[in-house]
């Protein structure tokens, strides 16, 4: 009791608050451990030799089997991980470029410009956020099939250049509405047309929302499995996600090491993006639901 005295002098009722705070942190840390267990398990298993995966109940590997990663780097179906990685990057990069360009253009019109049918079109745009992807999937597939684009990356990238992901249009609209109008008015007085005003005044100010759009697009495209599964069938065009699919059928525990080594490689870009941009991600997510 005597050692705790200095902290209690400031305010009479401090100890219960402190105890509650300690309990809160303990609870949060415990929850965090449970939450992070699957990730720790993934990392540990990717380094375990085959016999340990089956026999040992320890989370940590007894011996580090780095050859799992060598096996994983060889890839699947004679396609190296380097190739799979660059395919994934190409698709995700194209999607990022498309979404940032097309969604910011549409958002500027909705946020700042006047045009006929603005109200109904905006409502329609919002409604498409809720539209299930599957409702348009089959005809889209037929269209891309007619255009000879199946088993190319066009069906995965082209729609992004046409602002089909309305969620991001909405996100950028919300952000642009928060910008002071005076800057654009000033630019207009100086003789800027809407295009100059957009490019030189609005776009630079919108950068946080554009970064959020870019990161979310990257991660969602990187994780996307369904669309890639439908459109790509040549192994040399596969992405990391699709290559992992071939492990879905082979479920024997003996292949766990290389399979999860490859899973780690596939998750690495997302983890790096998260660590680098967590502020944009968390705040972008927060602003999507509030102040709506």
């Amino acid at each position: 009791m005597t050692t705790a005295a200095p902290t209690t002098t400031a305010a009479g009722r401090k100890p219960p608050v402190n105890r509650r705070r300690v309990a809160l942190h303990a609870g949060c840390l415990a929850a965090l451990l449970v939450m992070l267990y699957p990730l720790a398990w993934l990392l540990a298993t990717s380094l375990k030799p085959a016999d340990e995966v089956i026999a040992s109940l320890n989370l940590l590997p007894g011996t580090l089997e780095w050859s799992n990663y060598e096996t994983a780097l060889d890839g699947v179906n004679d396609v190296s991980v380097g190739r799979l990685l660059s395919n994934s990057l190409l698709i995700a990069g194209g999607a990022v470029l498309g979404n940032v360009l097309s969604c910011s253009l549409a958002a500027y019109a909705f946020a700042r410009l006047r045009f006929r049918l603005r109200g109904p079109l905006f409502a329609f745009m919002i409604a498409t956020i809720m539209l299930p992807h599957h409702a348009v999937l089959i005809p889209q597939y037929i269209i891309f099939n007619q255009l000879g684009m199946v088993n190319t990356y066009w069906p995965l990238v082209l729609p992004k250049f046409l602002a089909t992901e309305a969620f991001f249009v909405f996100l950028i609209v919300q952000f642009m509405r928060g910008l002071p109008r005076e800057l654009e008015e000033a630019a207009r007085i100086d003789g800027c047309g809407p295009f100059r005003a957009f490019r030189s005044v609005v776009l630079p100010l919108t950068r946080p929302a554009l970064i959020t759009t870019a990161i979310f697009t990257f991660i969602w495209t990187w994780n996307d499995f369904f669309t890639q599964l439908i459109y790509l069938f040549s192994p040399e065009k596969f992405t990391l996600t699709l290559a992992l699919r071939s492990f879905v059928d082979a479920s024997s525990q003996s292949s766990f090491g290389p399979m999860f080594a490859m899973s780690v490689i596939a998750l690495l870009p997302i983890v790096l993006f998260f660590l680098a941009f967590q502020r944009f991600l968390v705040e972008g997510m927060a602003s999507s639901g509030v102040k709506g």
């Binding site: 360009l101 599957h134 089959i138 599964l229 899973s263 997302i270 968390v282």
Partner: protein, 316 residues
């Protein structure tokens, strides 16, 4: 000065008349707006409206991608509703999953958000750490981890001695639902942002009136947060209806055991892209669209009685 220009300059007095000298400024800017909108309009027409119309048409046909579609009237729908037990099993699996996963996920998200709300140190760290699974959880990598954890001899089996969940009907669905619950971070972040917008005066006033913590939660937090709860509920429900990757991974793409993880989207994929019954799959897609629309409409309708918009009309 023409009359149109005077009315324009009335609305924006600071605007010099010279910029609108050639053409009326309104019309020129209307044209500019459509230039900005053109990619979106193209996408909305070619990749949303047209495909919706086409899939409605296809849902009344037999179509295998190679031969031209042949009109079969309502047969796809009658077959779906009366002759296809797998269809109903997929409906049951999807609804069970939505009803289990969404409330659990949102409840956990709200509890954690409330716990973090008044935290002075470490809030940012926990917020980011709890959010991370929401980004990773949709990946094939994590879906494969999940299958291993819940398989025979996996961690859950070793811990609880229940056997592998993914091989037992009923339990496999629960494993997939837990993967959704694991991703509670996204709604949690949204809850937290909403909680921070509740004015502190309301809590102070309630405390002065002698309201207990629980009472303050029920009478201040819940009504003030109700628009955000509603937003999360709608968004997560719609997303849950469309889950695909974990069910595919857990059941090796087959929806087993005993069709217990045959989610609607998985069966739609199976009918359309494995069995090449594009007409049947289109009918399934339209039923999904109508069901999601109906569920959203019901949520919106009931929301009138429990969602409280304090700042109505404040949004410009």
């Amino acid at each position: 000065m023409t009359t149109t220009q005077t009315s324009a300059s009335l609305r924006r007095p600071e605007r010099p008349a010279a910029t609108g000298a050639r053409r009326p400024a309104g019309r020129r800017r209307e044209g500019a707006a459509w230039v900005f909108l053109s990619p979106w309009v193209l996408g909305a027409v070619l990749l949303t409206l047209l495909p919706m119309a086409v899939s409605l048409y296809l849902s009344f046909t037999d179509y295998d991608l190679f031969n031209p579609p042949s009109w079969v009237g309502l047969r796809n729908y009658t077959q779906m509703f009366t002759e296809d037990p797998r269809y109903w099993r997929s409906v049951a699996a999807t609804l069970t999953y939505v009803v289990i996963a969404v409330p659990l996920q949102l409840a956990l998200a709200l509890v954690v958000a409330l716990a973090l709300k008044n935290m002075k140190r470490g809030k940012g760290f926990y917020r980011s750490a709890f959010y991370a699974p929401s980004l990773l959880g949709a990946s094939m990598s994590i879906a494969l981890v999940w299958r291993a954890l819940f398989n025979d001899g996996g961690t859950v089996d070793n811990l609880l001695g229940t056997g592998g969940w993914v091989n037992r009907p009923g339990w496999a669905l629960l494993a997939v639902a837990l993967l959704t619950v694991w991703q509670f971070g996204a709604p949690m972040v949204i809850f937290l942002a909403g909680l921070q917008q509740i004015p502190a005066e309301l809590y102070e006033a309630a405390a002065v009136d002698g309201a207990s913590r629980w009472r303050r939660f029920l009478s201040v937090t819940v009504p003030m947060l109700s628009p955000v709860i509603f937003f999360n509920l709608v968004l997560q429900t719609i997303q849950a209806f469309q889950v695909f990757t974990p069910a595919f991974a857990v059941s090796a793409g087959k929806g087993g055991p005993a069709d217990s993880t045959l989610f609607y989207t998985l069966y739609l994929y199976d009918r359309g892209f494995v069995a090449s019954h594009m007409g049947y799959a289109s009918a399934m897609a339209w039923v999904l669209l109508l069901v999601i629309g109906a569920v959203t409409a019901v949520l919106f309708r009931t929301s009138r009685s429990w969602v409280f918009y304090a700042f109505e009309g404040d949004d410009r």
